[in-house]
Symmetry: C2
DNA sequence: AGCTTATTGTTCGTATACAAACATAGTCCC
DNA sequence: GGGACTATGTTTGTATACGAACAATAAGCT
């Protein structure tokens, strides 16, 4: 071989394994919460927990850029889960608030959301779960 | 509170942390290999390592469904990195082969691909990397 | 006030991802 | 041989993701 370049085995590359783990997680999510996507649920959850926020601020808290959060919020609004109003102090800002329907849906789905994390980590032992989450957070 | 439902903290849900880790990885990937996406590189790498394959078979090996691998292959073909031909033994199949340009590009990028995995795992110690990859593979 | 810069939200283009429906081509089995 | 089933690839629709460019607004500075 040209030099000491190690063999490239796809299944041992972080990116590939990350992608497959995400795929499995998405399957579990869709089975437990069919009426919302992970990002939609994340945005709704943040709004319910942290109170009204501007669109971009919500995006920052849920790790979505301005273009992505817009689409997510548009769909939440179309479903009547979130209402939007202009901020009187800043004409650019859109203040987002969960509707009563949005709050109700969130409350009704929280236990499933916890089950999703539990099921995703099911192949691991209790100790492994803590280790895994800690290491995963480190490479964030 | 209504019952013993634990608080839902987004940053402690696997899905959310997985997504953020993937985001960081994609940034590292794009910086090291700007001319190919992770899925495009994965498909090209498999073809170079495992030899010619049908489109759907390649999709299975790279964890992409039929619709997704089609788009990836279309773009690889458009870039002249992969050539396609009908399988004489099965008129449905498209046999994919890396072009010389495709092989050359793959060879030229393998070291960066290894660097991507290394950089993504950089926040971890040597021992932690092995642990992490093993646990990540378990929840796949 | 006037100028510069930063922030907010929008739009466009590209690229995964996957469900579902479809046409074509093989395979199996009676 | 013929019918049922399966596999291959395509297309459509929906939903992230993000870069880049843009208009409108706000904030800071001189």
């Amino acid at each position: 071989m040209a030099s000491d370049t190690p063999e490239y085995v796809l299944d041992r590359q972080v990116g590939f394994v990350l992608r497959r783990a995400t795929q499995r997680h998405l399957t579990i999510f869709a089975a437990q919460i069919p009426d919302l996507t992970p990002t939609q649920f994340a945005a709704l959850a943040k709004l319910c927990a942290a109170g009204p926020e501007s669109q971009n601020a919500l995006g920052r808290q849920t790790a979505m850029d301005a273009a992505t959060i817009k689409g997510v919020v548009d769909r939440l609004r179309a479903k009547g889960l979130v209402t939007a109003g202009r901020d009187p102090d800043d004409q650019r800002r859109i203040t987002l608030t969960p509707s009563s329907k949005g709050r109700a849906l969130y409350e009704a789905r929280v236990s499933q959301a916890h089950a999703i994390t539990r099921d995703t980590l099911a192949p691991l032992t209790e100790a492994e779960r803590d280790t895994f989450l800690a290491l995963l957070a480190k490479i964030t």
